[in-house]
């Protein structure tokens, strides 16, 4: 019997019990909608986080003190670790293929201007921040390239800190106090938003050498390197290791490439997306039990019809195929409804909660539909086998 006719007969049987079929398909729809919606959120979060991490560019390398693979804010310095110094940063800047270097030391301090004061992040950095971190200066200029030991007491404000301390007034040339030390404002950065809990706009950028003194630290927390787009990362890492080992005597630092960081993040976020998809699948499982129930009832109700079909010459395989197809069509149609519902819900959510990162992945949507069909197949197997095994004579007598 051609597949088209199998589908036709199965569809006819489902349409004979419209409401029952609709409600059963709805069970699958809810499951698929949950899978689509949750994976959309998972995928949205995935992309959002990766975008956050790549907003500073992708040709970046971070050197952290201590031989550790932990990434994030580097603060823990193992006892036998030599400090990562400003001179280390200058040495790294001379490596072939390195475009610019930013030494980083950070903390939190009271920033005062005129009669106002506010605790804000303090980034002790070098002059290459706009190039390396891809942040623009909107007013004035960034910290000049100066010798770290004799750098002048200049400060550049994040946009929010400028608003808080100066309101609408022009802060350029104004004096501020950071942790008690006096600085002159020479620039204001563009709005950049939050990154891993740090509000980059509620921050002040100071020369790294002065910031080390301010926080009474010996070591930088990080040195960020921007390298040429075509440069070999492996060669750069080898060169950085060679330079720093020759300066420190042994490998007491960790180099984290953007790719490593993104790979780790990507795998974590993949697990997250998979976990939410699994959560959604629980409701799909319930929908599958619904299909199983309805198909079991259908076989019982239509025992006489099965007997008739057998008398008319239908083979056991054809009977099994008919009932299996019914289950698959039921689940498949439910799945399509779920896809539409999930996507529609996603759009509504995007309107209601604009900040919620939500990205419908067609790969997950397709996987969701295939999953619905698989659930239909699994739920249809037992009833279909039961139908196929019926003795034709006994089945005919069932009426």
């Amino acid at each position: 019997m051609p597949f088209k006719d199998v589908i036709g007969l199965s569809w006819g049987a489902l349409m004979a019990y419209r409401m029952r079929s609709l409600l059963t398909a709805l069970g699958i729809s809810v499951g698929i909608a949950a899978v689509v919606l949750l994976t959309s959120i998972g995928e949205g979060v995935h992309r959002f986080v990766l975008a956050e991490f790549t907003q500073f560019g992708t040709n970046l390398l971070g050197v952290h003190p201590g031989k550790t693979a932990t990434f994030g804010v580097s603060g823990a310095i193992v006892s036998n670790v030599r400090p990562l110094s400003l001179a280390d940063g200058e040495a790294l800047a001379r490596i072939d293929g390195v475009v610019a270097v930013v030494p980083v030391v950070q903390g939190n301090a009271l920033v005062e201007a005129q009669s106002k004061g506010r605790r804000a992040f303090v980034f002790g950095v070098g002059s290459a921040v706009p190039t390396v971190w891809k942040i623009k200066v909107t007013t004035g200029k960034f910290l000049p390239a100066e010798d770290h030991g004799t750098a002048r007491a200049f400060a550049v404000l994040g946009s929010k800190l400028r608003d808080e301390l100066f309101g609408g007034a022009n802060p350029l040339g104004q004096r501020i106090r950071v942790g008690g030390d006096r600085y002159r404002v020479i620039g204001v950065m563009e709005r950049k938003g939050q990154f891993l809990g740090f509000d980059l706009d509620d921050a002040v950028y100071l020369p790294a050498g002065r910031t080390l003194e301010l926080f009474n630290r010996e070591s930088l927390m990080e040195i960020d390197l921007l390298y040429e787009p075509g440069a070999s990362v492996d060669r750069l890492v080898a060169d950085i290791k060679r330079v720093l080992v020759s300066r420190h005597g042994h490998e007491d630092f960790t180099i984290i490439t953007q790719k490593q960081m993104l790979d780790v993040l990507g795998s974590i976020l993949d697990v997250l997306t998979f976990a939410v998809a699994a959560l959604g699948s629980i409701s799909l499982l319930v929908g599958g039990v619904g299909v199983l129930t309805i198909m079991t009832i259908a076989v019982t109700e239509r025992t006489s019809e099965i007997g008739l079909l057998r008398a008319l010459g239908a083979e056991r395989g054809q009977i099994a195929k008919l009932f299996l197809t019914e289950a698959v069509v039921l689940a498949g149609v439910g799945g399509l409804g779920g896809l539409a519902g999930g996507i529609a819900l996603g759009r509504i959510l995007r309107v209601l909660v604009p900040g919620l990162p939500l990205q419908t992945s067609w790969a997950y949507a397709l996987a969701g539909e295939l999953l619905a069909i698989a659930v239909g197949l699994a739920a249809g197997v037992l009833p279909a086998r039961r139908a196929a095994k019926l003795d034709p004579l006994e089945a005919l007598r069932a009426e």
């Binding site: 019997m1 349409m15 019809e305 057998r310 010459g313 083979e315 056991r316 004579l393």
Partner: protein, 225 residues
């Protein structure tokens, strides 16, 4: 055409063995019109089911069109039913959700015939049986006689060689019953082998050959009509 030899069919009910058929031997020629009569429980329906390959004999042998079909596998039996045998039941056994045309088309769909050919054959047959106006009606919208005519159309649409009718007029009034039996007889005159199971002696006597059954055995096999 049909040759049965020492067919036995027993059922075990609890600790009792019941012989529905006990040593039945029968030969039916191609194009014969044969009625099987007997009281309730005499084994006439069991005999028809075995001839129709819906049931297995416990012992004995069965040849159909010269081929031993006694021990055939399920799928081979289904193929023979599909190609050579048509069934007409007392309770019509129409699929309630399918129209008259849909019910008649069903065996052709199972046989895998292309849709245009199926529709052509169904149209021809419904016209021949005076059912054209009822083609799009559901079984529930048809009279008993019309339902049985649809069932006969379904049984003959595959152009089988044998038609097995088990009490085909049992659920019909006298007038509809006469129409149905005349339809079956006209099919027999066109060459179809017709085996008719009935408990109605008046109906049974219309057949060219009458087989009497009692207690699972053939108690009489005569020609009349």
């Amino acid at each position: 055409m049909i040759r049965l030899q020492a067919i036995q069919r027993k059922f075990v009910v609890g600790d009792q063995t019941v012989y529905a058929l006990n040593g039945v031997s029968l030969e039916v020629e191609h194009g014969e019109y044969l009625s099987i009569m007997g009281p309730s429980g005499s084994g006439k329906s069991t005999l028809l089911n075995i001839i129709g390959l819906l049931d297995h004999p416990t012992s004995g042998q069965y040849w159909l069109a010269g081929k031993d079909v006694t021990g055939l596998a399920d799928e081979e039996r289904a193929e023979i039913r599909r190609e050579k045998i048509g069934f007409v039941f007392q309770l019509f056994h129409l699929v309630a959700r399918l129209t008259a045309a849909g019910n008649v088309e069903l065996p052709l769909t199972l046989a895998g015939l292309p849709r245009p050919e199926r529709e052509e054959r169904v149209r021809e047959l419904l016209a021949a049986y005076g059912l054209t106006a009822r083609a799009r009606h559901l079984p529930g919208q048809l009279s008993g006689g019309e339902r049985q005519r649809v069932a006969i159309a379904r049984a003959t649409v595959t152009r089988p060689e044998i038609l097995l009718a088990d009490e085909p007029t049992g659920n019909l009034d006298r007038s509809s019953g006469r129409e149905i039996i005349e339809l079956l007889e006209s099919l027999n005159r066109q060459g179809l082998t017709l085996l008719l199971v009935t408990h109605d002696p008046q109906l049974g006597r219309r057949a060219a050959r009458q087989v009497q059954m009692r207690d699972g055995r053939i108690s009489g096999d005569g020609r009349g009509g």
